[in-house]
């Protein structure tokens, strides 16, 4: 059985359709990334999976339970890490965890034991009696994650988990996710607008304008983008684009101050281009494709504008 099975999900806010019939299945144990820019609908989809809102049409089955018909059953199976932490900053770490556990019906010595266990795993032992507002962003995120893991969820959902974290805290977070998956086979689903973060996932769903444009492994998506990516920094994107199209047989994307194209033998193209349009070309770069290139080629838009 899949951890998530969504089909035909439609969500409208007034006249605005935010999700246009999304279909997605995520098998158990997978690390899945929903990649898309702000406004792509990924957060709305996230809120449907976490039962915070109901779709206008379609069905969402999360952890084998119907997120629309029986949201309480889904809530018992998921742990959710929000972008802005759902902690009470006026309370201590221990109090936050105790109340968090109580919301899942936990109490007494099993709860105390679980809190002790997680505070060790998340290196929070010496912070337990500090007010949350005195902790750093990375530490708060660890408390938040500890709170979400208290009731041993089958599925962990994280909304933009790296936001507000410094690089060390990010590495921490992902090594924790890796160990949770290794030890508990936990399914982990996260949203992101960062391509390097999404590249960690087993599979990536690319979202744009309320649609899942592509779902595949990062390797397969990158392979589709071609072996090499040519980036040309230019003051005249139209001319460069036209040249690459007509003279080199490429399918370039003209962006603000930049033209990008998938090309094999990109270095040879660079030489021809620079010779033909010396005044228009600022610099050329040849690199391996990233998920950002995949996003651009799939949607014609940049990931982070």
């Amino acid at each position: 059985m899949d951890a998530v099975a969504a089909s035909g999900i439609v969500k409208k806010f007034g006249d605005l359709t935010v999700l246009h019939g999304l279909d997605l299945a995520i098998p158990r144990g997978e690390l899945f990334a929903l990649l898309g820019p702000n406004g792509s609908g990924k957060t709305t989809f996230f809120r449907i999976l976490t039962t915070l809102i109901a779709p206008d049409a379609g069905s969402a089955v999360v952890g084998g339970q119907d997120a629309v018909g029986d949201p309480a059953a889904v809530r018992a199976k998921i742990g959710v890490v929000f972008q802005s932490p759902s902690l009470d900053k006026k309370l201590t770490v221990r109090e936050n965890l105790a109340y968090g556990g109580a919301l899942y019906g936990m109490h007494g010595s099993p709860l105390a034991a679980r809190i002790a266990e997680l505070s060790g795993a998340l290196r929070l032992e010496d912070k337990m009696d500090r007010l949350v507002e005195t902790l750093s962003g990375g530490q708060q995120r660890r408390v938040e994650i500890a709170k979400c893991l208290l009731a041993r969820p089958e599925i962990l959902l994280l909304d933009e988990p790296s936001t507000g974290l410094d690089p060390a805290a990010r590495m921490d977070l992902w090594s924790l996710v890796a160990s949770l998956r290794a030890t508990h086979g936990m399914t982990v689903i996260f949203t992101s607008h960062l391509m390097d973060e999404s590249a960690r996932a087993d599979r990536v769903g690319i979202m744009s304008d309320g649609r899942l444009v592509r779902v595949d492994t990062p390797a397969a998506l990158l392979a589709e983008a071609g072996p090499e990516i040519l980036r040309v920094a230019t003051v005249d994107a139209m001319r460069v684009s036209e040249f690459l199209k007509s003279q080199c047989g490429l399918a370039p994307h003209a962006l603000e101050g930049e033209v990008r194209a998938s090309a094999s033998g990109a270095h040879a193209v660079c030489v021809r281009l620079t010779a033909a349009l010396p005044d228009a070309v600022g610099s050329t770069t040849v690199s391996k494709p990233t998920l950002e290139d995949v996003f651009l080629f799939q949607t014609g838009k940049r990931l982070n504008e």
Binding site: T50, T51, L52, I53, A54, P71, A72, A73, R75, A76, I78, V80, F82, S84, P85, S86, L87, D88, K89, K90, L91, E95, A98, Y99, G100, A102, L103, Y104, G105, M106, H107, K147
Partner: protein
């Protein structure tokens, strides 16, 4: 209503409200001081000219004492329910809404928190009773306790119904000034409601807060007069008001989860 997802979460949310309140000493202070200032200043100003209908010589400080208690409870309940808006803005509420908690448990936790704080603050104010010439007839103490709890619960209910749909505390203050304060003013708290046919009289009779004020007033030993409902009726209407605000709040919370 199973234990796991109803009573424990409700108890946790209740307990949290009290811990938070005790950590924010300025809240204790502000909910008490404003009514105290009202009581002292209005009492001093009105006492010389205050002549309630039906004769009797009651000082305004004495008359206004039950009304001040209700105002303290209203303010405390408002400060307590305003945290719903903060919880929504700061993200805490999201964490509650994705937990397998029954909507009623969220409401119950909040109501019990607000009630406890309101009753506690009102009880604290009772130490000033001797200065107002107010006594506590022993045989009426159970009625007073019931009246405190019911008024605290219903005031929290009013605050919750206003706070839950709001995204900003400014909006709450507007509603407080336009709706909640007038409800208190025409409840017999500030002045005796006119007897007979009059707009204020009718508004007072329709106002659920009137019954709360009357219940507390009579539990402090005042004889029922024509301008207020009898103790039993007052307690019954206030209890009904509690049930109504609780039911409406549960519906609101259950609905909010479905739509936005």
């Amino acid at each position: 209503m199973n234990d796991t997802y109803y009573w424990r979460p409700a108890a946790a949310l209740w307990h949290r409200d009290i811990v938070r309140f005790l950590r924010q000493r300025n809240r204790i202070f502000s909910a008490l001081v404003t009514p105290l200032v009202f009581w002292v200043l209005l009492g001093a100003g009105f006492s010389p000219s205050f002549r309630p209908e039906g004769g009797g010589k009651v000082s305004y400080l004495t008359y206004f004492f039950p009304g001040t208690l209700v105002l303290i409870m209203l303010f405390t309940a408002i400060f307590s329910t305003i945290s719903v808006i903060e919880d929504r803005r700061e993200g805490f509420l999201q964490g509650v809404l994705v937990a397998p908690v029954a909507p009623g448990a969220i409401v119950l936790g909040k109501f019990l928190g607000g009630t406890t704080l309101a009753v506690g603050q009102a009880a604290l104010f009772c130490v000033l009773a001797p200065f107002a010439g107010v006594t506590f007839p022993l045989h009426l103490l159970p009625a007073l306790a019931a009246a405190f709890v019911l008024v605290g619960f219903s005031m929290t209910g009013l605050g919750f119904l206003v706070a839950w749909p709001m995204d900003s505390t400014q909006g709450f203050h507007a509603i407080m000034n336009v709706v909640l304060m007038p409800l208190w003013m025409i409840s017999g708290a500030l002045f005796p409601l006119p007897v007979g046919n009059s707009v204020i009289g009718w508004l007072g009779a329709l106002n659920p807060v009137t019954y709360g004020v009357a219940a507390i007033r009579q539990s402090l030993g005042d004889q029922p007069t024509a301008d207020m409902p009898a103790l039993g009726l007052s307690l019954a209407v206030t209890a009904g008001f509690c049930a109504a605000t609780f039911a409406a709040s549960c519906l609101l919370v259950a609905r909010r989860r479905k739509v936005a």
